[in-house]
Symmetry: C2
Subunit: 341 residues, 2 copies
Amino acid sequence: MRQYNLCILGFGNVGRALVRQLQAKQAELREKYAIEWRITGVATRRMGWIADPDGLDPDALLAGQMPAQQSTISDVREWLEAAREDVLFELTSTDPHSGQPAREHVRTALERGSYVITANKGAVVHGYQDLQALAEANGTKFLFDAAVMAGAPVFSLFRDALPAVNILRFRGLLNATSNVILEEMEQGKSYDEAVSTAQALGIAETDPSLDVDGWDAMLKLCAISTVLLDVPLQPQDVQRTGIRGLLSEQVQAARAAGHPYKLAATLERTENGVVARVQPEQIALGDPLAAASDAFMLLAHFEMDMIPGLTMILHVPGEGTAGPDVTAYDVLADFLRAVRA
Amino acid sequence: MRQYNLCILGFGNVGRALVRQLQAKQAELREKYAIEWRITGVATRRMGWIADPDGLDPDALLAGQMPAQQSTISDVREWLEAAREDVLFELTSTDPHSGQPAREHVRTALERGSYVITANKGAVVHGYQDLQALAEANGTKFLFDAAVMAGAPVFSLFRDALPAVNILRFRGLLNATSNVILEEMEQGKSYDEAVSTAQALGIAETDPSLDVDGWDAMLKLCAISTVLLDVPLQPQDVQRTGIRGLLSEQVQAARAAGHPYKLAATLERTENGVVARVQPEQIALGDPLAAASDAFMLLAHFEMDMIPGLTMILHVPGEGTAGPDVTAYDVLADFLRAVRA
């Protein structure tokens, strides 16, 4: 039996769902994986840095009863030292331009030789090569399956289950919010009304611009290229057009004609690297993207040297309420992958 | 650098494709995986047991220039002893009723502590629990990803990339031959004409009964239940109806109505184990199986406790000619997974 001290940085919906799943799977983790855990650190901007190397009470954390921050802790390194972490779950929100402060959180824990699991796209896009090299040098793991299509193990599929393939082309529907907004527009809503509906469903953020302007899909595309194609891709390398400019009539006419609009993400390997774009496209029958038949499906399609085509479709929870659960599962799965290897 | 002695039992299209891929990926295996290989044994019913612990010439094997069988070798154990194998690739054809002689081949090599990779469904369905236990007891690996949807890593997806999930329901299109025959019938051909077309395409066997009577899909369903749901399932436990009884008019009318017939395989977990069936079904819009839009797609859809739905669609090579290449890739991938772990 191995005991792991877990630290959770960012304690929103995903962090809470992770704690609930750790509790629900406690017996299974013990019996099937010989793993025991305790939470020795939790931190958020509001609560500050909370650490107890003897373990915090998970039920109290879920009930919002947080111990006070130790006055001696003023940054992530001091917090991790106090918590004596084996694993850092980095669950802060993504900064698309720099990946900070997540990158520094990840780096600090990797330098300490700890496993780091993140759902943060920014840290992957802006820091992957350095952080991965640091993890290897320190004999630890940096895993981030929840950063793209959380619930579908896109990265571990290739790392663990599809060795020695080269990806030639990728097509994806990577942003659920755009899917939902376009489907609402197909049913006659204006763009603004559709955004409001997606917000009411808990799918769109108060500021939906990261989603509707293609930033979210573009960051995921950069992560896929950097990690899976081994071609580092930065935001400025991607031709990016969002769905904001589409008119309701246009979207309805496209659906009526059987070629609905989707926010499509495409990578193509060329002699000089990759060509990457995110843009609204009318999806023809026969396009791999046509396999996603409703708005609550995300899709990743790979064409490879050894396999003509492999498509993964993730059915995302409809009402947005179970979304954090699926992301939290993917984070938990990364933890199991890390400690098993 | 680690050197592996490879033995190939059954040297048909898949075995030959495997040798070509080992050659094509030789530099990559050396550089990325620190693996060197040589083929020390090849055996078929026609050629007999050929072994040379110093390595056979792959080009000569591919050209059909086989050394003569040593007269001292009369069975698989003597052959493996002579070849000093590290890895057995068991590529003989499937016997649906007993899984023999593949099971004995697998057992013999596992007893010798070797890795065993097979594409043989029969060995998995009829032997999984014993063979897996034997592999674990001997500190080796028994892998068989090519047995179901070769090219889509169905088994390693769950073993490596989706730990700690429980599968509640499975739906699949697992048999390409039935797909193709039904599509030909939709275009007006009779059942017999459609079978002939599938045979001409190299997709259906001379005797298509394993495919059209649902045996192939049923064995794959048994393998999925046994391995992934941990509920051993034997052929007699599956309610099985093939496509032979369908009329061309019926199939055409179903397609015209937008609910085409497919040979659907379904597993549902119940309180008492699983309920399993293979039968022709009219696929409604919204059914996960509807995501396979043409005959050259196989599909596996999983509903799990932690993830509402995950669908994998494998685009299979259209003309049948590249089919052995994809199977061979999956066999090669299992080899890399085995020696890396």
